[in-house]
């Protein structure tokens, strides 16, 4: 197993708290012969201010990991912390509040409520919470997304790439502790995809007053997309099997190829 970053208990060094921590997370589906281990004792830290990709072949557990981290799914055992809050024991109400206030989402498709305008969609999580957005932050996010002139449009009047950028803006607008993106470019052409990835990259790198400083975790199977990130975590058969820092497309492909090689049966 790959070495994980220093444990949070290291009080001597005032390391910033990771945005999310995963401890010994295990999840299985089915029973008997049909038993599938989606997550097998996964331990992982997701550092604040980093853009992390989670990769792996189909069935490696990467989506399950993200769903568990994002309070959309529950694990069989192990713990997940968002900030310093342990979420695996939370009830639905608290989980809902957590998703609303601490977590941002970008899905592969169908990210926007079709009846609301782009602007209403962006403000939706805050509107639901009954809060008004931080004006400066909101303006910065909208500027970063570059859709200032399309805010009054309904999703059906936007292109796929524009819809995903609105979704990213929605995820960022409430200043969540962490943003989870599930194949955000999976349905886009390469040009629109690059726009979305650039947007995500910028929202991590830019200074906070320009809408930056975010923490993003992205599940993807696209080496091009992974190359935009700071760190790639590889999953295989429910375990963390490898990790790359400042990856290039070639490095990612190498690891992927290695993982895809058929292993001798036990």
């Amino acid at each position: 197993m790959t070495a994980s970053p220093p444990a949070p208990s290291a009080e001597i060094v005032p390391e910033p708290l990771p945005a999310a921590r995963v401890r010994h997370l295990t999840k299985t589906y089915g029973t008997g012969d049909a038993l599938v281990t989606a997550l097998d004792d996964v331990t992982l830290d997701l550092a604040a201010g980093e853009f992390t990709a989670v990769m792996g072949p189909s069935g490696s557990g990467k989506s399950t990991l993200m769903h568990c981290c994002a309070a959309l799914d529950t694990a069989d055992s192990g713990q997940v912390f968002i900030g310093d809050q342990e979420i695996t024991r939370l009830k639905d109400k608290a989980l809902t509040r957590l998703r609303r206030d601490e977590i941002g989402f970008v899905f592969q498709s169908f990210n926007l409520v079709p009846t609301l305008t782009a602007e209403e969609n962006i403000k939706l999580p805050m509107a639901i919470a009954g809060r008004s957005p931080d004006r400066a932050w909101y303006d910065a996010v909208v500027a970063t997304v570059g859709l200032a002139d399309r805010l009054s449009h309904k999703p059906s009047e936007l292109s796929g790439g524009q819809q995903q950028r609105v979704a990213v803006a929605r995820a960022l607008a409430s200043r969540p502790r962490i943003v989870f993106a599930d194949e955000p470019t999976g349905n886009l052409d390469s040009h629109s995809g690059a726009e979305v990835l650039e947007l995500l990259r910028r929202s991590v790198d830019a200074p906070p007053e320009e809408g930056g400083g975010q923490t993003i975790v992205m599940v993807t199977h696209d080496p091009v997309a992974a190359a935009w990130t700071d760190r790639v975590v590889f999953l295989g058969d429910g375990k963390v099997v490898d990790e790359l820092r400042s990856p290039t497309r070639e490095q990612v492909l190498d690891v992927m190829n290695r993982l895809a090689e058929p292993r001798p049966t036990a």
Binding site: F107, V113, T115
Partner: protein
């Protein structure tokens, strides 16, 4: 293809079953109505054939139309003559009277409002065709003045057993001489001879129908012949009618002809079959309004249900458009795809009709129980399932379902195969603009029909009115997606203000598919429009009754029977003697015939005409004398009758002609259109019994108490002042309106189910959206709120449309009948407000299930849903 259709049907059981419910209710009404009316038919036919002899000999004009015997009788000598007729096995003379009430051991009158309370003599004569008919099933025949036999159900209901002393009030009895009066009257010694009769004979026999049958709720008190003659025919040795029983091998027709040859003028012989058909069809005609009524509600349920089905199928087809496109891509033709949807509709129709048929049986039993409550007891007759009930139920269920599914099914034909490969499939839909115009055209046509039905002299006005109402309802439903848009937009803004984002989302959702919202609201609209119409009609009728009583009430007190039926003149006689009473005006109503049509005539003492404060428009009030009549203005207009004309009526004693002496303004104080003298009425062969007494008093205190004392022993006759009388007159209107509300309530239930169904389907359709909302932090509570608000919006939209239309219909209807004694148009705004409030409740209730369903959606699965 068929298998694919059936599979998809099974996969959507719950949703489809909910839309089937409307069909179930509609069919249940149809089946229930048919079963009940068949049962009623058979029951009456059975009753009357077991209560007539082979040949009935009766005075011509025989019984009066309301079933009360005329004062014309058959002398005993005639019966002697008939015994010698060849083919006659036996001859029995009957003494009949109505208004002979049996009072239970708790002092209550055993009777309903409809079926008569019959009194008579016990003969033991067999019924026609050798049927056993009525027989003494317990105890023995009554003998002498102190013995009586009662029919089984009456004895049961009154709580009497053989050997008990029972109370019988022959309220139409001839005033008997006290010395010969049967029974003791303890506690009232030395009463004046005019005191109303109250008998307390011993129950010695129970009358039953050993071979099946019942009196359908009528009560029957039988004495021996001499006592009955004493009580009901003033002691004359005569009979009301006679039965002649045929000897073996003699047919009813042969016997009738043989008997007829022996009869004097003014007496006729009819076969038992003829007499029972006649009697049964009279009664069946009287209750046929109920059948019509229930079938109208079946129609309403089906129309409302059809909306629900159109909606459900539209949504289902939209949801399945990808699947259908795939079928097309795999080589299914347009026709096959369309017919696969129609096949589903067919199967649903069959299921709905089957369940509806079952429910219809329960409904028929329910109506039977309800009727038993009103005194029309049909429990002796098992329910009749005629083949046409089955045919009609299935035809209605299948045709309505398939017709309603036709629109959505046709649309599936336009799905292109390539759409199987696309993510978002939009079903092509006809433009709202065209639909709006079509709706307006339909409304216009409806208005014309309504106008023709209400204000023209065309025949079948009722049908035209009904068709007009239906066309307007359908037209508004068609135009409503466009019509309702401003309203929805306003509500959306208000919602967003009041409830924030959740409100905005709810408002947007309602606007998202205006035709779906509007169709769902329309189902509610129909029910409420009709309910409002009825509320206005009921309220106006009550206001008119009040106004009319206010305007026309004369005297100080009204004395009448519960349902305006007749009672003994002895009461009026007694009241004339009460201290403080200045004048007792007697009014009598009888049924007679003119040119073959039934009509009522009223009679008063000519001296009293002035006291009624009638308004003479032509001729003079004091022209009323023996041989002349006064007629009411509206009737005179309809029948083209003028002062000086002669009117001929078919009276019990034969034809009688009267001259019109005056035409008076319509006045509800005279119930019948024609008013004659009491003497003329008696001479025409009607028994002397009063229907209404109008009392003029000196207003001294305690008069009402003293009057009440006169009728204290007669629970059926009451003394009322103006307020009490008005109250009594309003009651049936209230009951009628309440009954209609109860039935319309069912239409509302269907509408509520429609909302539930539409919302539930919408939730399924928006699964991903709901998942997204949940994922980004919408709480379950907020989600429930959102759906509830949408539901309330739909319900209020339907209610507003319905109330607006209802006011239109109600006012138009009342305006059309304003010159028929219902001058006042009153809109019960309070009640209409309650309807609107109710619609909010309906909206909240309808949302419970879909909202719960949405709130419980597994977020992960929802966002993973394709």
């Amino acid at each position: 293809m068929i298998r694919a259709a059936l599979k998809s049907l099974l996969g959507r059981k719950v949703r489809l079953l909910m839309s089937t419910f409307a069909i179930v209710l509609g069919v249940a009404f149809v089946a229930g109505t048919l079963i009940f009316s068949d049962t009623l038919n058979r029951s009456f036919t059975a009753l009357f054939s077991s209560t007539v002899g082979d040949v009935v000999v009766r005075p011509e004009g025989g019984t009066t139309a309301d079933g009360s015997p005329s004062s014309v009788t058959l002398p005993a000598s005639l019966l002697e003559k008939l015994r010698d007729v060849p083919g006659a096995a036996r001859v029995d003379g009957n003494v009949n009277a109505i208004g002979v009430f049996v009072v239970s051991d708790e002092g209550k009158v055993v009777s309903g409002f409809g079926p008569p309370a019959i009194g008579g003599n016990w003969t033991g004569a067999p019924a026609g065709h050798g049927l056993e008919g009525m027989a003494i099933v317990e105890g023995h025949e009554p003998h002498g003045a102190d013995e009586v036999a009662l029919d089984q159900r009456t004895a049961e209901r009154a709580g009497y057993d053989v050997g008990d002393r029972v109370t019988v009030i022959p309220s139409t009895a001839m005033v008997p001489d006290t010395s010969e009066q049967p029974g003791e009257q303890p506690g009232q010694p030395g009463q004046p001879p005019a005191e109303p009769t109250r008998l307390e004979p011993t129950l010695v026999g129970i009358i039953g129908f050993p071979s099946g049958g019942s009196l359908n709720g009528a009560t029957f008190a039988a004495f021996d012949t001499a006592t009955a003659q004493q009580l009901f025919l003033g002691g004359e040795d005569a009979y009301s009618d006679a039965w002649v029983t045929a000897a073996d091998g003699v047919s009813q027709e042969q016997l009738r002809d043989a008997v007829a040859a022996e009869l004097p003028d003014g007496v006729e012989a009819v076969t038992g079959d003829h007499a029972s058909d006649e009697a049964a069809s009279d009664l069946l005609k009287a209750v046929s309004f109920l059948t019509t009524f229930l079938l109208i509600f079946a129609g309403i349920a089906l129309v409302v249900g059809a909306f629900l089905i159109v909606n459900t199928f539209s949504i289902l087809v939209a949801q399945r458009s990808r699947e259908l496109a795939l079928l097309r891509a795999l080589g299914a033709s347009k026709r096959q795809v369309t017919w696969s949807v129609q096949l589903e509709a067919f199967v649903l129709g069959v299921i709905g009709a089957t369940v509806g048929l079952g429910l219809g049986v329960l409904l028929a039993m329910g109506i039977r129980a309800l009727f038993a409550n009103f005194g029309l007891d049909l429990s002796g007759q098992s329910l009749i399932f005629a083949p046409r009930t089955f045919v009609a139920s299935y035809a209605v269920g299948i045709i309505v379902t398939m017709a309603a599914a036709w629109l959505p099914a046709r649309r599936t034909g336009r799905i292109a195969p390539v759409q199987a490969l696309r993510d978002d499939v939009a079903l092509p839909e006809a433009s709202l603009h065209r639909r709006f115009l079509a709706g307006l055209v339909l409304v216009g046509a409806g208005l014309v029909l309504l106008w023709l039905g209400l204000f023209s002299d065309l025949p079948h006005g009722g049908w035209l009115t009904g068709a007009g109402v239906l066309a307007i309802l359908l037209g508004v439903a068609g135009a409503s997606p466009v019509l309702s848009r401003p309203f929805l937009a306003v509500v959306r803004t208000a919602y967003a203000r009041l409830f924030g984002t959740v409100g905005l989302l709810a408002g947007q959702n309602a606007l998202r598919n205006p035709r779906r919202t509007a169709a769902t609201a329309s189902a509610l609209m129909i029910g409420l429009a009709l309910a409002c119409t009825m509320a206005i009609v009921g309220d106006s009728a009550k206001a008119s009754v009040d106004a009319s009583i206010e305007e026309n009430f004369v005297g100080d007190f009204i004395v009448s029977n519960v349902i305006g039926s007749e009672f003994t003149p002895a009461i009026g006689d007694a009241m004339e003697g009460v201290d403080g009473v200045e004048r007792v005006v007697r009014e009598r109503y009888k049924q007679t015939e003119r040119d073959g049509d039934r009509m009522a005539v009223a009679a008063v003492d000519p001296q009293d005409v002035g006291r009624l404060e009638l308004q003479a428009n032509d001729g003079a009030l004091d022209g009323l004398a023996d041989g002349s009549v006064l007629v009411q203005q509206s009737w005179a207009d309809d029948e083209d009758v003028a002062v000086g004309d002669d009117l001929t009526f078919e009276m019990p004693v034969g034809e009688r002609t009267y001259r019109v002496a005056g035409i008076v303004d319509d006045n509800p104080i005279v119930v019948a259109p024609v008013l004659m003298t009491l003497t003329d009425l008696a001479d025409a062969g009607f028994t002397a019994s009063d229907n209404v007494l109008i009392l003029f008093t000196d207003g001294s205190p305690g008069v009402q108490d003293r009057l009440d004392a006169v009728v204290a022993d007669l629970p059926v006759v009451t003394v009322k002042d103006q307020g009490e009388f008005a109250q009594e007159q309003r009651e049936p209107i209230d009951q009628f309106v309440l009954m209609i509300f109860a039935l319309l309530g069912l239409a509302l239930v269907i509408a509520v189910l429609g909302i539930v169904n539409t919302l539930a389907l919408s939730v399924i359709e928006r699964t991903r959206e709901v998942g997204l909302l949940r994922a980004i932090g919408v709480s379950r509570r907020q989600l429930r709120w959102m759906i509830t608000l949408e539901s309330v919006l739909i319900a209020v939209l339907g209610a507003l449309l319905g109330v607006a239309l209802g006011i239109g219909f109600g006012v138009a209807l009342m305006y059309a009948v304003r010159d028929q004694g219902l001058e006042v148009i009153s809109v019960p705004f309070g009640q209409l407000g309650v309807f609107l409030g109710l619609s909010v409740v309906i909206g909240v209730l309808a949302a419970v299930f879909p909202a719960r369903r949405a709130a419980r959606l597994d977020v992960l699965r929802a966002i993973a849903t394709e």
